[in-house]
Symmetry: C2
Subunit: 238 residues, 2 copies
DNA sequence: TTAAATGCTTGAGCTAGATCAACGTGGCTT
DNA sequence: AAGCCACGTTGATCTAGCTCAAGCATTTAA
């Protein structure tokens, strides 16, 4: 309780916010939180809403409070590659660039805390700790991207699907450390296909494959229960 | 000339170094350069030398002065994916992590300027500008990785090979802004294959394809002259 | 100089995954 | 309740790229 003695200095909105602990706001002191708090807005957006459009000048950034965000790139002829998934309390946006060719879209219902570009940039100038947090996230995303390159370049369709499920089970529930055995796939089959560099049909076939092998159970197309993680890991090529 | 008045304060080794301009050392003042300079070592390593081993505790970092470094990941069963190429004056190493599952190997003869882990960490603490430079590089690498995910996941073999050549022509000569039409491929065919998620044979076939189409000329297997960039871009799916 | 090893190319056939097509299912709209 | 539409599954066929195999060129070793 003593530790919370200054809790009253912390903006109401931030008090229960995960971004203040594991997210980038953890680098800010109560005064800075208040300053930033004046410029932030909380929004709840529906699945499918575009948060950041590719190639368009970005006016602001956001923290994810809950839900899942899908990052994707588009080719001229319409081919799409999903290049990442983000979970609470990740930071959304490309710092230090006016725009990016990656677009961000809410994959599920998403609650975000937005703030203008200038607010972040001012804050970074004042607080080196904030840039450090952003840097750490960028490095984590880089590790993830490279891990995924391995999957895209070297794994078979069956391995890709299993790897995807493992990735989800590690991330969907931010409260659980490690794997959670019960999860909701936040993407439709065509998105999974775009993530894995496969077709919808191949994704579907491999999911039923895993189902028939007893590795997992699927309800309502989206709700997955993993019955045997070591089997799933083997299927993923680990 | 006036601007160089303090040149004598800058360590000899750093004076002509590219890392001091476009690289991370540009964030340091002469005094800091001297301090860092005391702990740095210059080395020239032969092609094939492992600079950072995957999974092994890293003792130090380096800047690339010249040459090309290949970053790769390995699966348990031996499958390999090349997850990035680095050029002068890039920084090599994974800051803020004791080890990484990415290994770095000299693809050509490489000259590097090495420094111990602690030296970098001390320097980062003193100079927020240095962390900013590292952060910028991480973000650039992240952009590159995602661009490559697009290539790995969505492009055909022919498009992959063309995309690879465009990537090289944009990077091999750090002095040239934009494409250079005359370049040396720093990788053998099997490495290109590992980069593209293809087999050696497919890479070879697609290179001869481009040769026969008159898009490029190849000498001694490694020396490529691009005759028509717009054709190459079309072949890359752009 | 010859021999052995390494890297690159080319050909022939095979197979994982794409494509094309049909059908099922659940959620909306009217 | 009927009809529609988006999503998912399953089957049949086709093809891009893999595998296997042979041969050539260049480098290294003896």
């Amino acid at each position: 309780m003593r530790l919370d003695i200054h809790n009253s200095d912390i903006p109401l909105l931030c008090r229960a916010c995960e971004a203040r602990h594991k997210g980038i706001c953890g680098a800010l002191d109560p005064k800075q939180l208040q300053q930033l708090g004046r410029q932030t807005g909380r929004r709840e957006v529906a699945a499918g809403t575009e948060l950041v459009a590719a190639g368009v000048q970005t006016d602001g950034y956001a923290n994810i409070l809950s839900g899942i965000v899908k990052l994707s790139k588009l080719m001229a002829d319409g081919r799409q590659q999903i290049v990442g998934l983000q979970f609470a309390p990740d930071f959304v946006g490309r710092p230090f660039a006016a725009s990016s060719d990656v677009s961000a879209e809410a994959a599920s219902t998403v609650r975000i805390c937005t703030f203008p570009r200038s607010a972040l940039e001012d804050m970074v100038r004042q607080s080196p700790g904030l840039e450090h947090r952003l840097h750490e996230q960028a490095l984590r995303e880089l590790d993830d991207a490279r891990e995924w390159m391995m999957t895209l370049g070297q794994k078979s369709a069956a391995e890709k699907v299993a790897t995807f499920l493992l990735l989800l089970s590690r991330h969907v529930d931010p409260l659980v450390e490690g794997y959670s055995d019960h999860l909701e796939i936040p993407l439709k089959r065509s998105d999974i296909a775009d993530f894995l560099g496969l077709t919808v049909e191949t994704v579907s076939r491999n999911l039923t494959q895993l189902r028939k092998a007893g590795v997992l159970t699927i309800q309502k197309n989206r709700l997955v229960t993993v019955n045997d993680f070591s089997l799933l890991e083997t299927a993923a090529g680990l």
